[in-house]
Symmetry: C2
Subunit: 314 residues, 2 copies
DNA sequence: GATAATAGTGACAGGAATTGTCATAATAAA
DNA sequence: TTTATTATGACAATTCCTGTCACTATTATC
């Protein structure tokens, strides 16, 4: 094999095994150890972060960095990747230990200059916004790790300013709207609940035996949500603006129906304990909504309106 | 220069110039044309997408793909990049022509197997959610292009189901909550307004002379908003929940002040014509806000509340 | 239709770079 | 001390790379 090819292949091999000895590679490539030594030095000079130790149990390893082999990206792809990484900067917490900025810098650094120019021009003209929250979620990697390795955690969780302890087995984590959430099986409720990660104040491993939740993950967990409870029926007409406002709310998706002309209606069952919440939301929609059902919800709205009136009349 | 180095350098060079001839390279590298031909063939075999045409004005070009040279990423960085790109799949429209999935595949393909394993384990346990919208925004690249190149566009824009034509000069585009927006100078209003991209139905270049808005971009455009006009002063106390709700609204950023304990206040000048808008928004915040100034705004709120009461009392 | 500019191939000799071997250090674990 | 490992240098053998030359093929332009 000619040297140039060997070098490229060696780059990959060295990347795969993170630890290896010279004679090992010599066998694999069918060349002498001396040649391997010379090649490894060249790889070093090319930027592959190699590190060696002499003596028994010594050998080479690649530092924690890995080399990405040359990849052919189209310009569009490269730009898309750049902005995808760029968007990570909006997140105050991430489940990865790295600052995304270091990855971004490397990527930017290695772009051909004309793509760099294009990116520069776009940088202040395109953005993927995530609302900035001050709430930080320090336990993301622990939660994620528990989800992957099927571990039970004992957490202190804050609800309405009160702290309580719970045993949970996380299913995964996701971020939406600037906050992180973790759906997890809660041993206290014996059911899958969603926890807000910034309200999880303390996490320790629990001694409880984990359930086998390997087949439950972020994409299929919804199946488990409640159907039972004590509910009332909601029906509300929406103007075009009303529809547009509702579209912004993910949790309404299943209730929202849109007509051809852009107007629509909300229809579905609302848990009795959520009436106040819905009342507030519907008031927020103002005259863009006309609530027709049920009386309980309308009463809730009236009551809340009266409270507000009261406040503003003082 | 030894061949192996020449090949790597050639990879970059070929990437920089997208079009070149054999003799051009031969000069640059100080080798014969024959050698260049041989090298180019090797590059081809290594996956660099080269394409050649004979005859005058012929020559080589790289297909639209570019080669990314070998980059050293740490494992954490690689994983972060993967999920950043993965998150793009939530967007129904993007200003790039590419499907992000192709970039993702390439990236994944070239990862060392152990990182691939790690990604596989995480894939269904981590997500960056953006609400899925049915509304698609087909003109994103046109708008972005206009923002970069300082062009004026004539658009048909839908408000309240009515179509109108406007001349705008885009400042940039951003996505939030699954929808795309474009702040732009509107020649009809003679001011910077934010347009929802999915409501822009038709875009054609306009003959109007562009303004010089090169120094106005997504990050500083707030500064330019009105200072003159007929305004009233807003001051409103916010509870912790109130602050969180306001943080979700980008346009409030300049008015929002947060205290150590998470509570805060809104303070700033509000154009008289926006009082109704603010009244609705503040009512939406319910008891999480206590409006203390100015009387005009409080009156606006009361009036709107009364209207609502009226509706719900029927 | 001639001309010039371009890519593409094959053969071959000379030269340059690569390789293997051997000798020898140095180091650290067992 | 022994052994497994990296590390370096020198040199001859040999592989491979390179340049040259002689072609062919294609196409834009005059």
């Amino acid at each position: 094999m000619p040297k140039s090819k060997r070098l490229l292949e060696m780059m990959m091999t060295v990347n795969r095994k993170r630890k290896f000895t010279v004679s090992e590679l010599a066998n694999e490539f069918g060349v002498s150890g001396r040649t391997i030594l010379r090649d490894l030095q060249e790889l070093s000079e090319l930027g592959v972060p190699l590190y060696s130790e002499v003596g028994p149990h010594g050998g080479y390893h690649v530092l924690k960095e890995r080399i990405l082999p040359p990849i052919a990206f189209s310009e569009e792809e490269a730009v898309a990747i750049f902005f995808a990484i760029h968007a990570l900067r909006h997140h105050t917490s991430l489940p990865f230990e790295t600052e995304s900025s270091s990855a971004l810098n490397k990527f930017y650094q290695f772009m051909p200059p004309d793509i760099r120019d294009r990116i520069d021009q776009m940088k202040r003209r395109v953005d993927f916004v995530t609302p900035k929250r001050q709430a930080s979620s320090p336990h993301l990697s622990t939660l994620l790790d528990a989800a992957i390795q099927q571990k039970v955690l004992s957490i202190t969780y804050e609800t309405r300013g009160q702290q309580s302890t719970r045993e949970i087995q996380p299913i995964g984590i996701y971020t939406k709207n600037g906050l992180w959430y973790s759906p997890a099986y809660c041993y206290q409720h014996q059911d899958i609940r969603v926890f807000r990660c910034d309200r999880i104040h303390d996490v320790v491993p629990s001694a409880l035996t984990p359930l086998d939740l390997r087949d439950i993950h972020l994409e299929n967990r919804q199946v488990k949500t409640v159907e039972d409870q004590d509910t009332v029926h909601l029906f509300a007409e929406l103007t075009i603006e009303g529809v547009q406002a509702c579209e912004a709310e993910l949790w309404l998706a299943s209730m929202l129906h849109v007509r051809q002309d852009g107007s629509g209606w909300l229809e579905g069952n609302v848990s009795r304990s959520d009436i106040l919440f819905f009342a507030k939301f519907l008031i927020g929609l103002g005259k863009e909504v006309s609530v027709q059902h049920s009386p309980e919800i309308i009463d809730g709205i009236k009551a809340y309106l009266a409270e507000l009136m009261n406040i503003y009349s003082q």
